[in-house]
Symmetry: C2
Subunit: 351 residues, 2 copies
């Protein structure tokens, strides 16, 4: 039995355990996960007791046939597609399915009940196979090279956007499909904005510069952040850098099978709190990384996933002081049998 | 009354006409359209009879305050946000809202009825203001430069991905936030795949090469496609190129206020049919372009929008012959008082 068959089999089991007649998969990362195809204009996988079929619009048909490891059918428009639901009363769906689609499924597909199947997909996707980890590691390697290049490029007078353009080009030339997300180059006061996507601001002397980027490689993401200062750091810049670095290192060291993501978040958060900057750490410690840049588990006060070997997460504490600036240090790590291994490897002692 | 106030006022009117207590806006292009802010980690606009408020997670607060033209509030996590629905029974939502969110709104927000508000948003966004057209024109100018550069780069031996990397870099250096979508460089047999995103395939002599790209500039998109041949075209390549070119030109010439999008699609489709290639034109003629790369109206057999001055659409017929190759020619155009004007201006006689 190949790996796709095993995944489909698990979904069929879940279906039968939960009295679901068929399962509809519409989210692109899940379609790729279950079929190996990634139709740009979208597609649908229908799983029932006979197995799984991928349905795509006509313009995606030739490519999907090439890529897919499960049977592919084409349709001219979505309305033609509803006939596949003949005899289906209880349909398993992803929670992300749109309100409009659900309404259409009730009306045109005659579905009478919906049950969410996110749990079974999460259960599979949250633990990465060795092959997946190898791909993510390669995505991290591309991101490492890009972050090193960005650090070199960060000089007085350059625009944040120019630096982003250069490193995104480099990632693509190194094999990335595209950036995993909008590259963040946030300098000076903008470094206090956790999502300070590269702008037309020019880098100034004395700026803290937060560089946060990732590569999408072979459908998998990576995520890394480093912070540097242009010129010599002042006392306060150095102080918050040291605190964030300590929090990041301690959390990476603590990551291992058995600890919960909430406990991990607390380790970093308590360090930052003890130094008096608790109110300036305004996001969660991290998130899962895989086919999506943000996936399970959350690494926060609101998530109590018990870490397991094969999970891939980020550890990214930060301190953001409005108007003054901010520091974030982030690695993508994989949970191993006994601890964790950093997949992004760029040096962390940069200030 | 400023432009944001006018938009909010229109939503409040719609609310009252349809016995809706409040409207929740969650989709990023709509949030930008109604507030001027674009929180990367998402946010929510709540409109009620008192006006509109943007709610964002804590990490987006400082940036949203800077950008937003409507009041901004922050919340620590989504669960804290549901208290804003006190007293709301009938909630207006976007059709794109997820099934999970709708379930949470029922349970935690005590919403008893949902009504879709897409129509009022579509009615506003489908006709672009002069200011919006100027921005889209600039996005098209960036795309024109990129497509010209791509045509120069298309030479024997180069990888599709390298060409994409170069033109995406160029777009960003010319002011684009990012590519409007994954750049398509589809050569040889891959040109028959309408969504042949640049791959590691090398360009070969005699290849048809479809170049389809766009720029996101100041939140607005552009979209252009050109097809070239490496070296001299053979007879069949030239034949299908001429047919697609004729269909594209005739459709652009026919575009004007009063014609429906279905009629426009038929003009191009009938030309291709008459030459015997109807079965190889496997997608719609075009789509609206604006804050989203695909928006209203559809330009297809399944959409009968009557074109109006200020609408921005693409005209992109194509012929795709599996294994042999394909041709697509596309411009972004704006409907004027008496006809249409091409916003992408790259020469179309390329073979």
């Amino acid at each position: 039995m190949n790996i796709m068959d095993e995944k489909i089999k698990r979904i069929i089991e879940f279906m039968n355990e939960n009295s679901i007649d068929a399962v509809l998969i519409t989210k692109n990362p899940n379609i790729y996960y279950l079929s190996g195809a990634s139709p740009l204009a979208g597609g649908y996988i229908l799983v029932n007791n006979d197995g799984a079929t991928l349905y795509v619009p006509e313009l995606e048909y030739e490519m999907a046939k090439e890529e897919s490891k499960i049977p592919v059918e084409k349709f001219k428009r979505r309305d033609d597609f509803y006939k596949v639901f003949e005899g289906v009363k209880v349909l398993g769906i992803e929670g992300s399915l749109s309100y409009s689609f659900v309404e259409d499924l009730k009306e045109k597909g005659k579905i009478s009940e919906f049950k969410k199947v996110d749990d079974v997909i999460k259960e599979m996707r949250i633990v990465k196979s060795d092959e997946e980890i190898k791909i993510i590691e390669k995505a991290c390697e591309i991101a490492d090279k890009a972050v090193m290049a960005a650090i070199e490029e960060v000089t007085e007078g350059k625009k944040e956007r120019e630096i982003a353009a250069k490193v995104e080009y480099l990632m693509k030339m190194n094999g990335a499909e595209k950036p995993a997300f909008d590259t963040i180059i946030a300098s000076g006061y903008r470094s206090a904005l956790p999502h300070g996507v590269a702008s037309d601001k020019r880098i100034e002397k004395g700026d803290l510069v937060v560089i946060d980027l990732g590569a999408l490689y072979n459908h998998y993401n990576s995520d890394i952040t480093r912070t540097v200062v242009v010129g010599s750091p002042n006392e306060k810049q150095r102080e918050i850098y040291e605190i964030v670095l300590e929090a990041q290192k301690k959390a990476v060291e603590a990551a291992r099978p058995g600890i919960t993501t909430k406990e991990l978040d607390s380790i970093a958060r308590n360090i930052i709190k003890e130094y008096g900057y608790g109110d300036y750490f305004i996001h969660s410690l991290g998130h899962g990384v895989g086919l999506e840049i943000h996936e399970w588990p959350g690494v926060s006060q609101y998530d109590e996933t018990v870490l397991k070997e094969g999970m891939v997460i980020t550890i990214e504490p930060g301190i953001y002081i409005p108007k003054f600036g901010g520091v974030r240090i982030e690695d993508t790590i994989v949970i191993t049998k006994t601890g964790a291994r950093r997949l992004t490897k760029t040096e962390r002692e940069l200030i």
